[in-house]
Amino acid sequence: MSDLTRKTAAELADALAAGETTSVEITQVHLDRIAAVDGDATAGVHAFLHVDVEGALEQARASDERRAAGRPLHLLDGVPIAVKDVLTTQGLPTTCGSRILEGWVPPYDATVVTKVKAAGLPILGKTNMDEFAMGSSTEHSAYGPTRNPWDQTRIPGGSGGGSAAAVASYEAPLALGTDTGGSIRQPGAVTGTVGVKPTYGGVSRYGLVALANSLDQVGPVTRTVLDSALLHELIGGHDPLDSTSVDQPVGGLVDAARQGATGDLAGLKVGVIKELAGDGWQPGVMARFQETVELLTELGAAVTEISCPTFVHSLATYYLILPAECSSNLAKFDAMRYGLRVVPDGDPSAEAVMKATRDAGFGDEVKRRIMIGTYALSSGYYDAYYGQAQKVRTLIARDFTAAFEQVDVLVSPTSPTTAFPIGEKVDDPLAMYLQDLATIPANLAGVPGISVPAGLAEEDGLPVGFQVLAPALADDRLYRVGAAVEAALTSRWGGHLLEKAPVLEGVVR
């Protein structure tokens, strides 16, 4: 059969069910693909920090045995997956892209990893990311950047650049990402792939090494909307180990994706967020966005402009809440129980070892955010910063509530720009932060969002993402609208956007 790496997860599942291929075969071709194009810190896509060849093949063999015995565990049993290195995997290194966790092998699985394993998906390996998910380019990985398969001099987005690049470069059909301010959606946008941030509490965070606990969500990273729906239904649902997990079954997402793909959006009310466009937005991004909005009208949706005035404060709000939470979360990395230990000369105290280790083990962006967070929580500043940010967060959520009283979904470009050159913003934190302008409001309010490919920007020929946001717990709407857009555009383009991407040369490791 034709190149299995080009198949979607849904197609692979069908082929497995039909007995046309085996999980070992599928897993092997992806491992081969990784070996050919992933390279390392110096060359290649570098989507993976750790590839588990033997583990993946072993799980694939077990999957084939189950299927031969007529007992597959799940529709996706045997379809391999890549896992962002911020999710704990028992027996597999988990570094979060940080030196401070180099070589750490967790003694437990994240709940989503448990679910993936229980469904029989072989885990190919752990994907690269900005250190502790802080960044929008994956350049802040301590293990070297991931490169965008569309142009390897450019960033693949972040923090989950590894997961997005892995699916974009056909190294994996599915990947897990995490999204705190856009870390699934923005990499999806700049790599021409699909990424979903579920409703806060919709997917368990147990085993997700927290960046900002009140913002983080695990979600699917795939090439198609249907694949995201399949993976989302697999990983979603209540988890008693996560107190913030919503006690409701997940469902209806795959159905919504299939229904959306028929292309009928009649009766759907769509709001274009006024504040997420304008000056500073790349013209090619805006052009593709406008076309996609027009497409929605063609598909029968009623489109209006909606103002969410407090969204202009979302970046500032986010960059107070996130550093505050992460400054506390990252305190546990202290060289006492696990991870790196740097021992200064002389007879250092525990305190001196902590300080030296944290200095050596954390990168600049992590240090910046820890310091901002420490400042924002300090006595005397709490009310003015963290306290105020929590209040503005309420206002942002109210803007969403008001908007969703008028429309069913909100739309915007996913990211203000296409992929920028590696190195361009790495030492300009504010410019980097602006990448998440459009994605952050959803995290602050806990509502779900999806990014689907909207085409290539005229000026640079790089992918543009179209973001759809829905009310909390109405994740199905993302799949309906996302699948409709995907179906119409794919048909217009005569194939998946990724088919326009350059063919990757093999790299010598």
């Binding site: 704990t88 437990y108 994240a110 085993g207 107190s243 400054s327 546990k332 202290d334 129980r337």
Partner: protein, 502 residues
């Protein structure tokens, strides 16, 4: 540094003390505050830990509902309001025994607040004075791990070469109960402090929410103290003395700090606001290390946990499960038993209230129960250096011994030998009487012979009795009892003597 200590009487002449007590209580839930690890004391190190209580990356807390229930019951027993809505908060500071380098606690939204506890103290004149200690708050939090300091002089932290950390204790539920400043206690300050902690301990025992073993650290006390010039009505600078881990130490720590503060103030100095450590061995305190960031804990609401909002129905249901308050119970029992104030106070003071109650329930009269526990068994407990409840005799056994006395099989003196046997584990009181041959001799012939012998041996005494000095009979009774090796009924002996000499 040598401290100038001012005699207690002089301190009281010149200053008004203000007390504050912070008590940490480990709950006796099966599992930890935020994970399902067991809480049992004394397990092998690091065998009761999981990703959550070990602070592993990615792990998350889930609140133990039973711990919340216990916290609410404690709050209610301390006459507190129970929050309609409250949250957990992170208290951020670095310390190797704290796995996450923040403690999940409560900050400005405690589960219980605004309560009080009435405590009784005895004056030197033997009168009872009642003080109302106002409770500021009771909040939920988690315990830390335990460090073993290796190298250096004596296993203490200072001078150690390195430390070994066991996280079994990390995450065990703690309730911290904080009083408002306790004012106006004057020279009673040390006694009020001790009485408060004792009363709190009694309430917690009654609730069954904690083992409250101060020596095992399941109840730990910090003592805040400040002095203000007499009558000034202001609050002085306070010190917080930690590690005060017995009732006696509470009293001593207050007394010591009062004398020390007075020394500083009368010497023209200023008391430093600092943490101090109490030394059980010599009853003194010493300063803790001054930390630049000591007060900046950067509290914020714990984002991994959702608010606790106890419904009023739940709170009322828990209120209905509260045991009778100790003070009310004591008043009721005193009336039922017909004890004098002094008898009651001694019974409570000896920690014998429950034991006496159970002994009475097992059939003994109140006075008999009190007599055995307070005289005989308290002395033994004291000699053995254990609590009365650990003396090795149960209330049922005490009642059984008394039943033997009542039936005339043994007398009080023989009963003491029965207790010897009970402590030595020789069986039931009946078995011990039989095995040791303690039963009173009721053979009139033998008894009569012994009386005759005593009269013959003590002619002077016999004459006195013949002359009507009946009180002298005691000496002859003693001689008979000695002859009979105690195994005689003293009452019957007296009758025989008086018959023969009457």
């Amino acid at each position: 540094m040598t401290e100038t200590l001012i005699p207690f009487d002089e301190v009281i002449e010149k200053f008004d003390p203000a007390l504050g007590l912070e008590v940490h209580v480990e709950l006796n839930t099966n599992t930890k505050m935020f994970c399902g690890c067991p809480t049992e004391f004394g397990a092998e190190p690091n065998t009761q830990v999981c990703p959550t209580c070990l602070g592993l990356p990615g792990a998350m807390p889930v609140v133990n509902g039973k711990a919340v229930e216990s916290a609410i019951r404690i709050g209610l027993a301390m006459n507190c309001e129970i929050a309609e809505w409250c949250r957990f908060a992170r208290k951020n500071y670095f310390y190797p025994d704290m796995p996450k380098n923040f403690q999940t606690s409560q900050y400005d939204e405690p589960i219980a607040f605004e309560g009080y506890l009435d405590v009784d103290i005895q004056t030197a004149a033997g009168e009872t004075e009642t003080y109302r200690v106002e409770i500021e708050r009771a909040h939920m939090e988690e315990d830390t791990g335990k460090s073993l300091h290796v190298g250096g002089s004596d296993g203490r932290i200072h001078g150690a070469e390195y430390s070994l950390v066991d996280y079994n204790r990390a995450g065990i539920p703690l309730i911290e109960i904080v009083t408002k400043p306790i004012l106006g206690t004057g020279d009673k300050a040390p006694l009020v402090a001790k009485a408060y902690v004792a009363a709190l301990r009694e309430i917690l025992l009654g609730l069954g929410v904690s083992d409250v073993r101060m020596e095992q650290g399941s109840m730990r006390c910090d003592v805040n103290l400040s002095l203000a010039p007499k009558g000034s009505g202001v609050l002085g600078t306070r010190t917080e003395t930690k590690n005060v881990n017995s009732l006696r130490s509470v009293e001593r720590a207050v007394r010591y700090e009062m004398s020390r503060h007075a020394g500083v103030l009368l010497g023209g100095g200023a008391v430093l606001q600092e943490t101090r450590h109490f030394h059980e061995d010599n009853g003194t305190t010493s300063p803790g290390r001054v930390k630049s960031d000591a007060e900046d804990y950067r509290y914020f609401p714990e984002p991994d946990l959702v608010p606790v909002a106890p419904s009023r129905e739940w709170v009322e249901e828990l209120r209905s499960t509260l045991p009778e308050p100790p003070a009310v119970r004591r008043a009721r029992l005193q009336k039922e038993w017909g004890f004098s104030d002094l008898e009651m106070r001694d019974t409570v003071g000896a920690g014998a209230l429950d034991l006496v109650e159970q002994t009475i329930a097992a059939g003994a009269s109140p006075q008999a129960a009190r007599k055995w526990w307070l005289a005989e068994l308290s002395r033994r407990a004291n000699d053995m250096g254990v609590d009365l409840s650990a003396v090795g005799v149960t209330p049922e056994q005490v009642a059984a011994v008394q039943a033997l006395v009542d039936s005339g099989k043994i007398n009080d003196k023989l009963a003491r030998q029965v207790f010897d046997g009970l402590v030595a584990g020789e069986g039931t009181p009946e078995e011990i009487v039989a095995a040791r041959g303690l039963e009173i001799v009721s053979d009139e012939g033998a008894l009569s012979a012994a009386v005759d012998k005593a009269i013959a041996d003590n002619p002077d005494v016999a004459d006195k009795i013949r002359d009507g000095k009946v009180a002298a009979a005691g000496a002859l009774i003693g001689a008979v009892m000695k002859e009979m090796r105690g195994q005689a009924d003293a009452g019957r002996v007296r009758e025989l003597i008086l018959e023969k000499l009457g």
